[in-house]
């Protein structure tokens, strides 16, 4: 019983790392540009399919093809940014959020139905030679690919944090978050900063999607659930904190798996674990809108 519970929590942390990775992408875009890209989950789905087809058609290992997933999402993100989102840069914050929400929604509808047309509604997953491998530690099973995914997510989040703290461009991004008008006056090209953070957010979604395809499964309709999860995590973690967001992802994963376990023990449906994150989200919105780790000014 206790062992089964611990096993569940481990699974929770492993999926939570991917929630965190996806949410960090969404949060980065929202923090810098105030664009609420609700097509984030569809970007993730596209990343998953890119990896899936590379593996199925040309037997490219999904971990080797991660750069390809990144590049395809960088391109996709840039296209959508230039064609649609770049028109929103100069709007006031409220209008900007509202309009990007609507446009993102249109984009998600198009991507989802295109995926349905092109690749059918089948659930797919990338099954490599080593997919079934697990190692045991203290009687708990650790699936190899999921542990590798967690490590990759961790490395990417740390790299992003270093990029934002240490590099000149990263500082320009953070300056834009603080005050974009002042940043423009200091000679920062706001269009470039927006474009960069938008495509970086898309690329993070792409990686998350590829990793979901290896450790779990993908399908055309997965986008909305992932967008919602990313939003939940973004609010949980508090806007503007990369580490807070990643930890928020793990908390969501843990909460879900614990709820799933309890629901299962109580004879309820496993799908209730999908509800708990949303309920948590509503509670945080009502009682602590600045997030669990955010500061009041956030």
């Amino acid at each position: 019983m206790l062992e089964a519970f611990a096993q569940n929590l481990v699974y929770g942390v492993l999926i939570g790392a991917l929630y965190g990775l996806a949410a960090v992408g969404l949060s980065l875009v929202f923090g810098v540009t105030k664009f609420l890209n609700v097509a984030h989950g569809e970007f993730l789905m596209v990343g998953g399919y890119a990896s899936f087809w590379l593996f199925t058609l040309w037997q490219v290992d999904p971990f080797v093809s991660l750069p390809a997933a990144i590049v395809s999402l960088l391109v996709l993100g840039a296209v959508f940014y230039q064609a649609l989102f770049s028109r929103m840069v100069k709007l006031t914050e409220g209008v900007k959020i509202q309009n990007t929400l609507l446009i993102g929604f249109g984009v998600s509808l198009i991507l989802q139905n295109l995926a349905l047309k092109l690749w059918t509604a089948d659930t797919r997953s990338i099954t490599t030679a080593y997919s079934g491998q697990v190692f045991n530690f203290l009687g708990i099973r650790f699936p190899l690919v999921r542990v590798a995914s967690l490590l990759i997510a961790l490395v990417l989040v740390i790299a992003l944090q270093l990029f934002l703290r240490r590099t000149y461009t990263g500082k320009a991004l953070r300056a834009t978050v603080e005050n974009w008008e002042a940043a423009t006056l200091m000679g920062i090209d706001i269009h470039r900063v927006y474009l960069l953070s938008f495509v970086m957010g898309a690329a993070l979604a792409g990686v998350a999607g590829a990793l979901v395809g290896v450790g779990y499964s993908i399908e055309p309709g997965m986008g909305m659930s992932w967008t919602l999860k990313s939003l939940v995590v973004m609010v949980l973690g508090g806007l503007g904190s990369i580490t807070g967001t990643f930890v928020g992802g793990i908390i969501l994963g843990l909460t879900e798996s614990a709820t799933g376990f309890i629901a299962l023990m109580a004879g309820g449906g496993l799908t209730y674990k999908e509800v708990v994150g949303l309920v948590l989200f509503l509670l945080v919105l009502v009682f602590r809108p600045e997030g669990l780790f955010g500061s009041k000014e956030g």
Binding site: R87, I97, L102, I110, K117, T271, F281, L282, V286
Partner: protein, 307 residues
């Protein structure tokens, strides 16, 4: 309204009332039912999303609750009209409960909060009512489409007339003021929360009523169906493409949506959603007033020429 407009409305109304007397084809009647359903749900979404400018991404919750409660009461032997009204009122109660906390947060949090709410209901209802809900066999023997058509016509007319009366009243002025500039409206003594709650309540009521009509109409479905996000998203797109915040806009949007879907469904299923997505983006970017905006421009140009 001028004389020409009144004449058009009277003719249209007469045609809609006489429609089932002349059309006996079941598929055409079903199509008409869906047009009226989408007119009602899009118009009810528009009361909050258009008039009040509060993007509700969880309208399906109210449609679904209306359908669920109506179906239960009706199957328990209640009169269908009473069941529908109770269903709609339950939807209003739900709106009032989540309205207070949700409106404390502005803009996008309201949108995401309502989406989260409808997803919670979707999953919970799917778990709780996992069997198909079918009209009992003895009732099915006397099932006829014509009363369903009139039911939907009634709901659609009631929704449109209410929206029209609201927009041309004190409420209309207040809610427009809140949408355009909330802080300025507040400083003039307009209670933003009161007006938003009113709009939310009315929107939920008619969303619930439409759901009730759906419960009366549909022979057999999984209760989860009525909570699906597509009800919300279709409503939102119909309102925007037709002309958000207007009375006629959602009506035109709904007719266009159903016709396009029928036209495309023969060759490519679900393709209409891609076209609708593209149109929606174009409207948001370039034509914030939708088809109604185009119509206004043409009308103004014609008027100028005739002078």
């Amino acid at each position: 309204m001028n004389k020409i407009q009144i004449t058009i409305i009277v003719i249209l109304l007469a045609a809609l009332l006489a429609f089932p007397q002349f059309i006996t084809s079941e598929s055409v009647l079903n199509l008409a039912v869906y047009v009226l359903l989408y007119v009602s749900i899009a118009s009810s979404w528009n009361v909050l999303g258009g008039f009040a400018g509060q993007t509700n991404l969880g309208h399906a919750a109210f449609f679904g609750v209306g359908a669920l409660v109506t179906r239960m009461l009706w199957f328990a032997g209640w009169n269908i009209f009473a069941s529908m009204v109770i269903g709609a009122l339950v939807a209003v109660v739900l709106a009032l409960i989540i309205g207070v906390p949700a409106f404390r947060l502005r803009g996008v949090y309201f949108a995401i909060g309502t989406l989260a709410l409808s997803q919670i209901l979707l999953i919970t209802v799917g778990n709780t009512f996992s069997t198909i809900s079918s009209i009992p066999t003895e009732d099915l023997k006397v099932y006829s489409l014509v009363p369903r058509y009139y039911m939907f016509l009634g709901v659609a007319l009631l929704t449109i007339v209410t929206a029209y009366v609201l927009l041309n009243s004190r409420f209309g002025l207040g809610i427009t003021a809140v949408r355009e500039e909330e802080d300025a409206a507040e400083s003039l003594g307009v209670s933003a929360l009161k007006y938003k709650m009113l709009a939310f309540g009315i929107s939920a009521f008619f969303g619930g009523l439409t759901g009730g009509a759906f419960a009366f109409y549909h022979v057999g479905y999984y209760p989860q169906l009525t909570f699906g996000p597509e009800w919300t998203f279709d409503s939102m797109m119909m309102a925007y493409i037709g002309g958000v915040g207007t009375i006629v806009g959602p009506v035109i949007g709904a007719v266009f949506f159903v016709v396009l879907r029928e036209f495309l469904a023969l060759r490519f299923a679900e393709f209409h959603l891609i076209i609708f997505g593209v149109l929606f983006i174009l409207v948001v970017l370039f034509l914030p007033d939708g088809f109604m905006g185009i119509w206004e421009k043409i009308r103004k140009r014609l008027l100028r020429r005739s002078k």
